[in-house]
């Protein structure tokens, strides 16, 4: 421990992850916008030869956004919030400092390799688990290094009780670790066959229906633990801190936590309704998805009630606006999901554009807004400068909110239209539409969705610009702000 200089929180790792959050956010959303446009204008498939088709780029979009942008955001906030709620600085432990940096650099290299392999078509073709076995091994090491940082920091804490955000970070760590490991159980064929073929290739240890079960147990929950659990960790810290209001009910937050943990993992079966998995599992997935409304809304309502009597902040502080909209969208998508899990609704909704519509309610409205608000809150404290422009945040807010509304309305209509057309029969009981009829009719909605993608990306570029300006050329501040984040008009 140093003797003279006052001890301060050390944000060097949080800063590194902040950079990658912005970088991967731009890449992921750019690819997303491109593939949205490809569905409306198929000529766009041929921009970069065989590497630029919709099918090749789609996993790149999902993986860069989930594992690039979101994980970076989660880790940026963890290396910031973790120190503060435990009241311990990373500067106090050389080992933890090393682990934090090791975690970041390995992650960055791993992410780059993953991007290249996906472009080359080296994939297991399991959604959100596309990485082949060597990358999976790297992912395990990355995850373990986060675990060491997480529990290491907890080990040297001054605050005895763990704040609720830490609970959620721990849960996200454990949940994803378990699910990722089980879903990626695979055998490299090169070694078993005695050195024949590609060394990158592997074969899943599960076949057919079992593979589907494990995959959606993973797909729903691992991604859910990233989209939900880790983002709740953020809002439980940043909303109270930014507004100066303690969580409305700490007890409710504890209850919602255990409720969420207990119920969440059962709901994965709702991805497999009407498939060949046993009927009782489909029913179970459906029922638990509906039960899941309770703990989800428990957290969301708790957040909104935290603002009780302080709603004036909504107009004064754009970060509060971002976070309140985020929790509103969280409520919207956690009621929409269970509706889609009801068997009769699922019969129409499954396989249609309503599903990406639902996902994007949650990610565009809840996840991205929350991560942006968190980074805006952290930036003046990490870089000792005020936010470059409040006005830009306002503009960005409205552009992106418009984009989200365009996205989900067009996809709702597209999904339900297509679902109804697939099953439409004439008076003799014959199918009324050929498949291509149900594709052609979606063109206007795909155009609207592409426009919404362009708008959302534009908003995100404004965010990136604002952040870069804040880091480099905004007015310096002498003292760390307590609650409200300082920003220039």
């Amino acid at each position: 421990m140093q003797s003279n200089a006052a001890l301060e929180y050390d944000y060097s790792v949080a800063k590194l992850f902040t950079y990658t959050t912005i970088l991967f956010g731009i890449i992921g959303m750019l690819v997303g916008t491109l593939i949205a446009a490809q569905l409306a204008f198929p000529q766009l498939n041929y921009l970069i030869g065989e590497y630029g088709t919709f099918s090749r780029l789609r996993p790149l979009h999902t993986d860069v956004v989930v594992y690039g942008f979101m994980l970076s955001g989660i880790w940026a906030t963890f290396y910031y919030v973790g120190q503060r709620v435990l009241k311990v600085s990373m500067a106090e432990s050389k080992f933890l400092m090393f682990m934090g940096k090791f975690h970041f650099y390995l992650y960055f290299v791993g992410a780059l390799i993953a991007v290249v392999t996906l472009l080359l078509g080296i994939t297991t073709s399991k959604e959100y688990a596309e990485f082949e076995w060597p990358i999976d091994l790297v992912v395990v090491v990355i995850w373990v290094s986060w675990g060491i940082s997480l529990f290491g920091l907890i080990g040297i804490r001054r605050e005895k009780s763990l704040y609720i955000s830490m609970w959620y970070y721990i849960a996200a760590f454990l949940g994803v670790a378990m699910l990722y490991l089980f879903n990626n159980m695979e055998v490299p064929t090169y070694f078993v066959s005695g050195g024949i073929g590609s060394i990158m290739h592997s074969v899943s240890m599960y076949a057919g229906t079992n593979d589907a079960l494990v995959q959606w147990w993973f797909g729903h929950n691992a991604v859910g633990f990233v989209f939900t659990v880790a983002i709740i960790a953020m809002i439980y810290y940043f909303l109270p801190k930014e507004s100066g209001q303690a969580v409305y009910s700490y007890k409710l937050s504890l209850l919602s936590f255990w409720g969420l943990m207990f119920v969440y993992l059962w709901a994965g079966g709702h991805h497999l309704i009407w498939s060949t998995v046993p009927d009782w599992m489909q029913t179970m997935g459906s029922v638990f998805s509906v039960v899941l409304i309770l703990p989800s809304w428990g957290s969301a309502i708790n957040m909104l009630l935290t603002m009780k009597g302080e709603w004036n902040q909504l107009t004064e502080n754009p970060l509060i606006k971002l976070m309140v909209l985020a929790s509103t969208f969280y409520m919207l998508s956690t009621i929409e999901g269970p509706i889609q899990s009801i068997k009769s609704v699922n019969a129409i909704a499954h396989f249609t554009d309503w599903i990406p519509g639902h996902v994007h309610d949650g990610v565009l409205g809840w996840v991205v807004f929350m991560i942006m608000a968190a980074l805006f809150h952290m930036a003046p404290r990490m870089f000792k400068r005020e936010i470059y422009s409040k006005k830009l945040i306002e503009i960005q807010f409205w552009i992106q909110t418009t984009a989200i509304v365009l996205y989900f309305t067009s996809m709702w209509i597209a999904g339900i239209t297509q679902g109804m057309m697939w099953r439409a029969v004439d008076e003799y009981g014959n199918l009324m539409y050929s498949f291509i009829d149900t594709v052609a009719i979606l063109h206007p909605y795909y155009v609207i969705r592409a426009v919404s993608g362009v708008l959302y990306l534009a908003g995100f570029l404004l965010f990136a610009y604002n952040m870069v300006k804040t880091m480099t050329s905004s007015k310096a501040i002498s003292e760390e702000p307590t609650n409200k984040t300082p920003m220039a008009a």
């Binding site: 994939t123 609970w167 066959s193 290739h201 599960y206 147990w217 943990m261 998995v277 199918l431």
Partner: protein
């Protein structure tokens, strides 16, 4: 007790883990033995078909096509008999997909021909004018990876007792035998194709991706 748990991060983590692992233990594990039984008469994929499945995975066809026919009249009318669990017993990984931007393909081999696929993969709009599917012309020039497909067959035979070289099963043999068999199979397919480059390649002992992919598509019944 609860309070103690909140102060002890290690036991807290164990508690969280138990609660989240519970669903998997009870729901997923016990089902394994049952769901992986093949239906009667199901044969493992040939090496060429496996190579075609790799092309299907490589270009990530599941982004737009499902392989799961749900038990509704509107689906069985459009695609054929609804899918059964045992039909997927040799699918590692499963390729059900989650989105139908294009139609289901689980029984595409029943109603599409080699010739149709050849035209369609070269220029989808030549067969389905309003199609939004991209052309996959690189399948006609890239070569399928027969070696890796053979390695996969050997692996599943060894580790998961997939019935290769078994009575009524699919013959596999040695690496050389398997390569020769794949080439024979490829020749049978190119007999129904018109692209001269593809025909020449197969005549020279090479197998373009399109041939493997069509072998796989025709197998889906």
């Amino acid at each position: 007790m609860f309070h103690w748990l909140e102060k002890n991060p290690f036991f807290f983590a164990v508690g969280v883990f138990l609660v989240i692992v519970f669903a998997g233990l009870i729901e997923i594990l016990p089902n394994f033995a049952e769901a992986s039984r093949p239906i009667a008469g199901l044969k493992p994929y040939t090496v060429l078909e496996l190579a075609g499945k790799e092309v299907y995975k490589k270009d990530n066809c599941i982004a737009c096509h499902s392989q799961l026919i749900r038990p509704f009249k509107s689906e069985t009318d459009r695609y054929g008999q609804y899918s059964l669990s045992g039909e997927y017993a040799y699918d590692r990984p499963f390729l059900w997909g989650s989105k139908r931007t294009g139609p289901d393909l689980h029984r595409v081999g029943n109603y599409r021909t080699t010739d149709w696929h050849e035209n369609h993969m070269w220029e989808p709009q030549s067969v389905v004018p309003q199609s939004i599917m991209p052309a996959y012309k690189h399948h006609f020039t890239n070569m399928a990876d027969i070696d890796t497909a053979y390695a996969e067959a050997v692996t599943v035979k060894k580790l998961f007792a997939t019935p290769y070289d078994a009575p009524n099963g699919t013959p596999l043999g040695t690496h050389e035998e398997a390569k020769a068999a794949a080439l024979e199979e490829a020749k049978a397919i190119t007999a129904n194709m018109k692209n001269q480059d593809v025909k020449d390649a197969v005549a020279n002992g090479q197998i373009p991706e399109i041939v493997a992919l069509i072998a796989y598509m025709n197998r889906l019944k």
